[in-house]
């Protein structure tokens, strides 16, 4: 079984452990993830904040390359990339004049035939059906599943899970032997793209998230987005200084937690790369 794969920039750099754990999991379930040749950055927040045309043209080039490569489905683990690719597909499908303008002026061949899967959709479709028999070390911990923004919003376009109190990560963790907790910050923003330019805001927003997870007894926070991870993990100093206490709850990607449950090697899952030591 071969699926397309769009890692995006974070997974090649500051969040490479996310890529490592996605690939390790795919391998364990005999799935080949084929990277899109010569892919470019999706433009992320910067492009849609500054220049609409750029915010559509960059994802269109990616989707066009995937089509050229004969890929029907692409797995996009980064929630921000997933959002940009899905929103672009939607906008081009809704507005044929816009679609012609973006594709023709940039010489891109695009039909919109490629399906974009976020990490949970990938796991649900290709991993979950065979998961039960493979769980050898149940992830027996209390977990706070954190969805953030772009995995579930805007619901009108993504049509994925529930936008308030989503359940998909909780269900996956339950199947991996964990106990998901009820908490209040599942879909509150971590501060995302302000990480560098306004770190104090990130300390406050991410601080509330980590603080609530801790108050409700979570042993780890589960995420599905590299931006969420870097803010909750790498920005832990800013979080701790906002909260005025030292909180050492680790933050794991959903793919790392499932990987541990099926007995994959910790190093293969990139756990040693985290700033907050993974003790679970």
């Amino acid at each position: 079984m071969t699926l397309g794969f769009y890692p995006g920039c974070s997974l090649k750099g500051s969040s490479r452990e996310y890529a490592e754990s996605v690939l390790a999991l795919a391998k364990a379930f005999d799935i080949n993830l084929e990277e899109i040749n010569d892919w470019n950055c999706c433009g992320a927040t910067a492009a849609h904040n500054m220049n609409k045309e750029l915010s559509l043209a960059l994802p269109t080039r990616i989707l066009s390359l995937a089509e050229k490569q004969g890929l029907k489905e692409i797995v996009v683990p980064c929630a921000a990339c997933y959002s940009r690719l899905t929103v672009t597909k939607h906008e081009l499908a809704e507005d044929s004049a816009l679609c012609s303008a973006v594709t023709e002026s940039n010489g891109l061949e695009y039909t919109g035939s490629v399906s974009v899967l976020n990490v949970v959709q990938f796991l649900d479709k290709y991993i979950t059906p065979n998961l039960e028999g493979k769980v050898v070390k149940p992830f027996d911990h209390k977990v706070a599943c954190y969805y953030g923004c772009l995995l579930v919003r805007p619901h009108e376009i993504l049509k994925f899970d529930r936008e308030e109190d989503p359940q998909s990560l909780d269900t996956l963790m339950l199947k991996s032997g964990a106990t998901p907790i009820d908490w209040a910050f599942k879909t509150e923003c971590c501060g995302a793209g302000l990480s560098v330019s306004r770190t104090s805001s990130v300390g406050r927003l991410s601080g509330k998230i980590i603080g609530d997870a801790k108050d409700r007894g979570a042993e780890t926070v589960i995420v599905a987005c590299p931006m969420c991870h870097s803010n909750l993990d790498m920005r832990r100093d800013a979080i701790n200084s906002y909260l005025g206490e030292k909180i050492d709850i680790p933050v794991l990607y959903i793919t790392q937690a499932i990987g541990l449950a099926i007995g994959l090697d910790r190093k293969e899952l990139g756990l040693q790369r985290h700033f907050v030591k993974v003790t679970v």
Binding site: C9, K12, W39, A44, N51, L54, N106, P154, R273, F275
Partner: protein, 190 residues
């Protein structure tokens, strides 16, 4: 202005928002759910519902204040306002339009200097290499903002954990990417 804008009786900036984004500021009835749910409200000069009201008035002085506001730049596009709006008003889409217009008219709020510098450094990095080069982004951002000391301790920690690439990933079709940037910038330089 589109005929749709005429029918809704919206002129000025609200009319432009409608024409370019199909977002109808007239539909807002000031319930305030966007401002209550917005994680950045308390750091804004005008919370989202007040921005909506300012646009509804059609008063050019208030519209100018919107384009010069800090709010439109500190907005994270987290989409919470849109999710909770009982009238399904796509406020984030409107914010994208307002930011672009604010830049074009050179009205960007001076307090947003770092936020905008980060976006510019980010896009320049993609323009040159096709993918984000994180070290290049940091250096470029520091050059723009002179925030030399910020996050200096982060780089060695990231390097030790294999989280930073020393050499950028260059895509093959860099001229194709540069062409996309050139065309997009011709209409509206970021």
């Amino acid at each position: 202005m589109s005929s749709d804008a005429h029918h809704s009786g919206i002129s000025g900036l609200g009319g432009e928002v409608l024409e370019h984004t199909e977002v109808k500021v007239s539909h807002c009835y000031q319930c305030g759910k966007c401002s209550a749910g917005c994680p950045l409200s308390e750091e804004m000069d005008y919370p989202p519902s007040v921005i909506m009201r300012m646009l509804q008035t059609g008063n050019p002085a208030l519209e100018d204040k919107v384009l010069r506001s800090f709010s439109i730049w500190v907005c994270l596009t987290c989409e919470m306002c849109f999710a909770r709006c009982p009238m399904s008003i796509d406020i984030p889409k409107m914010m994208d339009f307002l930011r672009e217009k604010s830049l074009k008219e050179k009205k960007a709020n001076p307090r947003a200097k770092e936020i905008i510098a980060f976006h510019k450094s980010f896009l320049d990095s993609i323009n040159y290499t096709g993918r984000l080069y994180e070290i290049g982004l940091f250096v470029d951002y520091k050059t723009r903002t002179l925030k030399i000391m910020d996050d200096l301790a982060l780089a060695p920690k990231m390097l030790r954990r294999g989280k930073l690439n020393i050499i950028p990933e260059l895509i093959k079709d860099r001229s194709g990417i540069a062409e996309i940037f050139r065309k997009a910038n011709k209409k509206n330089k970021y």
